[in-house]
Symmetry: none
Subunit: 274 residues, 2 copies
Amino acid sequence: MPAEEIAAPKSLADFQERLRRVGGSLPKRLKQCAEYVAGNPDKIAFSTVADIAAGAQVPASAMMRFCQEMGFSGYSQMQKLYREEYSQKWPDYSTRLSSLRNGGAESPSALLAEFSEAGRASIENLTHSIDQDKLRKAVTVLAGARTIHIVGLRRTFAVASYLAYAFEKMSIPAILHAGVGNLTQHHLLGDGDALIAITFAPYTADTMALAEAAAARGLDIVAITDLPTSPLAALDAIHLLVSEIDVGNFRVLAATMTLAMTLSVAVGARRRLV
Amino acid sequence: MPAEEIAAPKSLADFQERLRRVGGSLPKRLKQCAEYVAGNPDKIAFSTVADIAAGAQVPASAMMRFCQEMGFSGYSQMQKLYREEYSQKWPDYSTRLSSLRNGGAESPSALLAEFSEAGRASIENLTHSIDQDKLRKAVTVLAGARTIHIVGLRRTFAVASYLAYAFEKMSIPAILHAGVGNLTQHHLLGDGDALIAITFAPYTADTMALAEAAAARGLDIVAITDLPTSPLAALDAIHLLVSEIDVGNFRVLAATMTLAMTLSVAVGARRRLV
DNA sequence: CCCTCAACAGAATGTATATTCCATTTTTTT
DNA sequence: AAAAAAATGGAATATACATTCTGTTGAGGG
């Protein structure tokens, strides 16, 4: 039994360190493995042994021996390390949140930490998931509109009102449909106008009603919603999907607000250029 | 053979588009699949059918049917699509951001990167700078109030309206002073009430007026503001300072929103416990 | 020059996983 | 209300994969 029998690395950093230390003194094939693995960390997470082995130009069994030599039980265990590193960016929220709920008497600062983290993750996710083409198209449509109508009720009203504020500040004609006094203002929708509709599950009926009225009149619609199965998705509109994290029953609006600001400022900039 | 037999989506964007189109008319289980898949793109890349199915709370066979319904030969083919997409955006958040930034000075994507980064920084700053004692005190005061009044106009109206929504949802008596119709509602301020006032430079006159009226009546006041020199600071109130980053002339509200959510949820939790 | 042993490649194996099939339930239609 | 159609869940099967085994090669030492 070799004296230097070693345990599996705990973290990717550990592993890369070990790779550097023992890398030089490996036999030919294993050295090939080491080099390929060190140089293609991203591929490890996705591919099968066969693929990786082919990439390193060794038979699969050599790659297996390499993994075991490095202290892993096999290829799968090594791959797990790479996958964990990657998917770390979206921590397991459902468990954390349920613990928060069961904890009950949380201190406000612990809550603040939760919301902060949720907000951070939501924004980060937004930058990954937003479709740049659609965003650009949305800006174009809104920049060309005569009047911009904005609708977002209940949980999304905050976003809608921010949009209204931003447009007002830039002197862009915009109407916030707030549902005040239960007066329907569908008749305000005119040719050449555009609508920004914001709704998350459970989808507010009044928002949908206005969006449908706008669709019927042939207005351009920019829809900010959470799921492809949203009723807004049935409309012919430019869809911007935002998946936010819920903390308890409360939706962190950080990403949606960020998107709203981007939209408004981009539209403002475009208008001024033309 | 159904007439609408469809080919496998070519890209993730294609797929999401299809999901959006047909998503609404799917049977129950398949809709669950659609929603989970749409909401967890990152997990698809790594996990097995069994894992994903468990996440969507459906049997594995349902997930298989879903994949085929969407035009894939099976789960593996769908996963392949996600893996391809993901190996491209592998680089971490910061590099992704800088690549967004360089996408053209005035492009919407560059703006999005700008706002995202500003939001992240603001939130991070908030968790460091907030005074925990004051936060706790604010929660205590609000939890003990008979009715909570909320005022925040112009740029902060979004925050105020979110607070109003949150309190309503938790059945906590709260009044949002919106300035509708220029009706002053100072007379609503009653003994045992508390006021949340939100204002940033330049400080809105109406907000100050209401805050002063509340102070005169001896109400507890929680002030969310940006600087110690704010006129709100002159009042005897619990001050929560939030320093947000400005992008151009627009204040990112991410930190303020985060603070507002924390306040409302903490108050709700406290009320229920007492 | 032969012996020994580590390194190796490819075939053989076992296991984890995807996929299909069918009996049962639920929904829709008549 | 009955019949037909669609949807569903779990068991059965097939496939893809990681892992191990075995015979062979090649290098170093006596």
